[in-house]
Point group: C2
Chain length 408, copies 2
């Protein structure tokens, strides 16, 4: 039946890494692989009370179809929550989506014809790469520095792409505690990116799943909040700040951009679940999302600190072996010495009952073989220490074997 595949489906592949990571679901493996929020952060008891009440007393509403734009109650709660954060939006500038991955799908639908260019970090979020790939966008990578995308290289790549006659659409960034690197974009670079986008008439796709999980340092204004021209689309999600299983997110956009997004959402899924929307809205209105965030940030801080301590304690002292130390989010990024292949090493790591995500899958240019992503969100501090101990052993052995190989 393969003769019936669309050209986009013929190109889409199941991720080999994803298949390998399925092995890591065995209980004796300590996995730093999945980018899953800490389950102890889910406000489950409060949601249980609200869910039962909604289903008993508002079932005619919450179990029925809703509007494509999303529940007005939820959007109103979001407008109020976002205002003190410097994000001024009206109800009509918010679109509820069935989680942020759908947001990416919608912006691909609304803005990308095959061959249209999107610029993204090297490395960047794998799910975004997959969404852009499905819509046959031309993904051009720009190196990520310790303070965000290299804006000079971005300008260079823009010139090259224009010279090649390509149609440029936008820049995809995750400014806060980026997936996979944990790196945060500085204020100066956010402003510089916005200036470039204005000059070059590009859109900015600002994906912010982790910004509210900041456990140290001061928040940096979102690009969306500084954009006076309405060329930025902001993606926010409930997955990490409330619960991933709700599959609920909100995207913010102005004017024509929002209009296009609503029009393509309609045939995509008609509407997002009103039940999960009202769960989130009632939780926000009755318990407060900021209060909840204050409760859960220490969970992530403690785990991140445990992982940094474990890395410092267990990892061998090797030239080129280093890692990020983020102020929020779920991820630590590790650079292994040049020439070490983290994809190859994963098999051995799994034999030693520890897992991670090889970084290469997050590079649209096939680079990053010597990098890996460690998620600290799912394990206890004790598991983190033991897992990093196992991983450090594999790293040390891999480096030693390479030296022997090089000498031979």
């Amino acid at each position: 039946m393969k003769q019936h595949f669309s050209s986009r489906a013929a190109g889409a592949r199941r991720s080999a890494i994803r298949e390998l990571l399925k092995l890591t679901e065995q209980p004796d493996i300590i996995s730093f692989g999945g980018g899953l929020p800490a389950p102890e952060s889910f406000p489950h008891e409060e949601l249980a009370v609200i869910a039962a009440d909604l289903l008993r007393n508002d079932y005619r509403n919450v179990l029925q179809y809703g509007t494509t734009e999303g529940s007005r109650t939820l959007r109103r709660a979001m407008v109020e929550w976002l205002r003190p954060q410097g994000i001024d939006v009206t109800l009509d500038e918010l679109l509820v989506t069935s989680a942020s991955q759908q947001g990416l799908d919608l912006l691909c639908k609304a803005f990308f014809d095959p061959g249209d260019v999107v610029f993204c970090d090297l490395p960047t979020y794998l799910g975004a790469v997959q969404a852009f790939s499905l819509f046959q966008a031309d993904k051009i990578g720009v190196p990520l520095e310790e303070d965000g995308m290299d804006i000079g290289v971005l300008e260079e790549k823009i010139r090259e792409a224009r010279a090649a006659g390509k149609k440029l659409k936008g820049v995809y960034v995750i400014p806060d505690f980026q997936n996979p690197s944990g790196i945060t974009m500085s204020l100066a670079k956010r402003k510089a990116l916005l200036a470039v986008a204005q000059r070059e008439d590009l859109l900015i796709f600002e994906d912010d799943p982790y910004g509210h999980l900041r456990f140290a340092g001061e928040p940096i204004p979102s690009i969306f909040s500084m954009d006076r021209e309405g060329r930025t689309i902001l993606l926010l999600t409930f997955s990490k700040v409330m619960a991933a299983g709700l599959r609920l997110a909100v995207m913010a956009a102005r004017g024509d951009l929002m209009d296009a997004l609503v029009r393509v959402k309609q045939p995509t899924d008609l509407c997002t679940s009103k039940f999960t929307q009202m769960l989130a809205a009632r939780y926000m209105n009755e318990y407060g999302l900021d209060r909840h965030l204050e409760d859960i940030r220490p969970i992530y801080r403690e785990k991140k600190e445990a992982m940094i301590r474990a890395l410092e304690k267990h990892m061998p002292d090797e030239e080129g072996l280093r890692w990020t130390n983020p102020d929020g989010g779920l991820f630590i990024w590790v650079w292994l010495p040049e020439g070490v292949d983290a994809e190859e090493m994963l098999g051995r790591a799994i034999e030693h009952h520890v897992a991670y995500v090889p970084g290469s899958s997050s590079y649209v240019d096939g680079d990053g073989k010597n990098t890996m992503r460690l998620s600290f969100s799912l394990c206890t501090p004790a598991e983190i220490d033991e897992g990093i101990r196992r991983l450090a052993k594999v790293v040390a052995e891999t480096i030693a074997a390479r030296k022997v190989g090089a000498a031979a």
Copy 2:
């Protein structure tokens, strides 16, 4: 910002009818417009008990990310439920989707390049038309007869399309109690369609949201169950048999076709909510879906009968004015006398506090101006009688005005 729109988004329009129908949300309007399930059919009390239990005792699972393929518990429950219906599938031949509209989105993604041909009924489901349009498929309409698609015309259209050098992909049908017409495809036509698809190497997209809402007559085997070659994709949904607000559905496909669907679902939304999946699975396992269906079918039968009675009682006796009398589903289809424009008439109907969906939006060839869809699911029998009384008055006046116009 319109210069940034993709060609598909530039083509997508907000439905004028949908905007008009927003007016019908006023409480003094009796609306036969929306295709919404009867809220009294939602098993809300049982769902309330299960939801609270899941969120208290299984929150680490149900509030977390799930697999793209969907919950094994839910798929296992579906496998068991489908077997006595003659639908034999394995777990891996079922894909959970975020409602059936997403199923349509996924099959467009997996199988349609711009210009690829899909054959569909005249009239057919508007949401499917919108999904196919978004992916720039070439929709070729085939007249719907009282027993389903005109297979002779289908064969003719296939020859014409092949002669024109088009790439043919498949046939989209809703065999049971079709949306919008309420018409059911006969067993003979299902077999004939399957034979044509086999001979011409076409896929069949079999959409079955209403088949289980049969309140009279005997079930007819699904095309999927008779297809020995695995070229049929079956879309089932929980929207009408449990609750639309769960946004939950399951699609069945074999081999390569399923593989392509899973690969395109991953970047579409990562996964469907495990919480809503487990709600449905637990409901099926603890209460039984067949028992529930036995409870809710009389609700729809009673309403349909009320609408048929009201139509017979109130509608004027005019040449060409007739309607369907379905054995299930949510819809009755009305043909007005030739020359009466149901789209034009809608404004006057709303003035008289009654609403419907003009049929023309369901015709991919721009035809059907003298048709309308009446949904009997949402109103009480008394409201149905009153609403049809108002509508009949508008119809009679419109026909009379036309005669005067014609005479002048």
